[in-house]
Symmetry: C2
Subunit: 340 residues, 2 copies
DNA sequence: TATTAGCACTCATATTTAACGAGTGCTAAT
DNA sequence: ATTAGCACTCGTTAAATATGAGTGCTAATA
């Protein structure tokens, strides 16, 4: 168990280190207004904190830096649950409102806003259309042999794909197929469409089947291709200002990792669904991010579940401010109305 | 005017420097099989080449490196017009064919291929939809107050935008408006749509105008937003392997510049239309690219004018190979059929 | 018993100095 | 016209040294 003084010292070390990125020595601490003890006393406590694994020294004659365990303790015990600052949230909401009504643009704006506020890099993942429901299917012929299949979801997202016929298909067959699909499949989750179309084909009478099977299968193959959820990266440049990323050895893995859109998407999708969650250093299990911490959260837009947003900074990130800002943005997004 | 020997030496210096990234000394050159002269002789010619501004020395006791003027001379006089290697082009065509029939994906694939072949970074700009022509407009109601406007171009590109009504609009009015637009505007360049809709509104009879004006203006406002041409970046990582980008001072401006999608698009769009063009060092006028050379070219896909592709590497890039590969890729794209 | 002053010791970083060697330019010989 | 020879330049590397921030321990103090 930590004494009050040790707690005070731990907190001071982390706060100081977060600001300066330099190991913190006992003498520096003793000069702080909130620490009235001599450097020797502080040294003794520091030795204890080190024994407990909360802080460590880069080498004998340096000051101490927080260990990952230390950060964990700090985040869990010393970062007070933030209360939403109404004025600030209102201001953010206002800025979001001004940008656009399009959800896509709103998300981008939110990511940019968050990285501006914190000076860290932000990744925002849009809604995964797989879970949305079919509102309508339509088909537009382009010429004799090509056409566009349109899929509209209940959330107003539209996807389209150009298809090519093997041979000419009668317009009536197309029309009838589309009508059939609309009749039977509206309300189906997009992710299930492929299977459901297969089922519908199986249900067809033999006579119908010959007519519609080709067309249906064509559509089936197009909806099978899942469009990746939209991904947006904000404030990528910010990393250049972090002292721990001033060398290529650290910078390169980070940049290479963050540029791999697909992997990034999977990673965000695989995060456990929760409100704000902080992952410290190697906790995230990603080699390229071993010196980074991540604050993630699912967010809702206009009250509806939407996607995931993540803030990535060095392990030595300002957790207090980061968590606070993340909370504000999420709240602002939640309050933003898409229509009015 | 350059003597034959000076030409030989200039070429050797540049070839050598392109490979090693190290200043080239007279003794190194004299050991080459194609240079039979003594180091002293070479030194004399080097001094002349330096007087002419074709090469320069980083400091007194280093070898020589090519100047921008030198590279220019090299590219203009010493890089022979490449002849398309049929076998190689065929192989590239094959690899493109395998990836997809979707133009978007083909372009990405081409960019990736080009950067793999050269180890430089590639930027590809897709077609600018502004110049394509309207094939069809359609509207899909989502609910009482929202709907999706769909715009299909003659090239098969589809764009969609969600619109919100101020008040309820009768389905017949919507239908009629769409019919009107399709009747009158099919074939119009997308870039002109906004103006043309305005003209059509003006032509309406007073009675009609009251009915349709709102709806038309709503559509007008959506087509006014121009979607940016699709941009694709390939082989961004390659820059990390270039010795001239091993320091943050050089790396950072490059990465910051290349990540600015909008600026990149404008830059590519502003390039003069031509076949293969080489811009050396500061010639491109971009501060962040002052140590880079760029090989650009417009390309056609399936014979149709399509977009622009650019290859960015250090000034010390392998121009011969770069130009050759660019030629091959462009030819392969030209031959690729979109439908069959 | 808890705190603090004092001091020897450690070790990364900065500074200085010296040695090295790749490359040049010039001169004189071929 | 070409080349061998040589003094000179200057960036790079390595070793030697100095600096100083910070620690751990011990003994004095409240």
């Amino acid at each position: 168990m930590l004494t009050d003084r040790q707690l005070l010292i731990l907190r001071a070390i982390i706060d100081d280190y977060i600001q300066t990125a330099q190991p913190v020595g006992s003498r520096t601490l003793s000069k702080r207004d909130d620490l009235t003890f001599s450097s020797a006393t502080i040294r003794n406590d520091m030795a204890d904190l080190e024994d407990m694994g909360l802080i460590e020294k880069p080498h004998t004659s340096a000051g101490r830096i927080p260990s990952e365990v230390g950060y964990r303790y700090y985040v869990d015990h010393l970062v007070e649950k933030q209360i939403i600052d109404e004025r600030e949230t209102g201001r953010l909401e206002e800025r979001l409102k001004q940008s656009s009504k399009e959800s896509e643009i709103l998300i981008r704006q939110a990511a940019d806003l968050l990285s501006d506020l914190t000076n860290y890099t932000t990744v925002a993942l849009g809604p995964n259309s797989q879970s949305e429901r079919l509102a309508r299917v339509d088909f537009m012929p382009l010429d004799e042999r090509r056409g566009v299949v349109l899929i509209v979801t209940d959330q107003g997202h539209v996807e389209h794909r150009t298809v090519m016929f093997e041979s000419r298909v009668a317009p009536e067959v197309i029309e009838e197929t589309i009508r059939l699909l609309n009749d039977r499949l509206v309300g189906t989750a997009i992710g299930q469409l492929k299977v459901r179309i297969g089922e519908e084909v199986a249900k067809l009478q033999l006579a119908q089947r010959q007519q519609y099977e080709n067309m249906m299968q064509l559509i089936q193959s197009t909806v099978g291709i899942q469009t990746p959820s939209s991904l947006y990266l904000g404030g990528k440049k910010n990393i250049f200002n972090q002292p721990e990323f001033q060398t290529l050895d650290t910078l390169r893995p980070f940049l290479e990792w963050i540029d791999e859109q697909e992997r990034l998407t999977h990673w965000l999708e695989s995060l456990p669904n929760r409100e704000i969650y902080v992952s410290i250093g190697s906790e995230n299990g990603i080699v390229a991010l071993q010196n980074c911490s991540v604050i993630t959260s699912d967010y809702t837009l206009d009250g509806k579940t939407f996607g995931t947003i993540a803030m990535i900074g060095p392990t030595r990130m300002n957790y207090r401010h980061g968590v606070q800002m993340m909370g504000q943005i999420i709240e602002a997004l939640r309050r933003t109305k898409l229509d009015e």
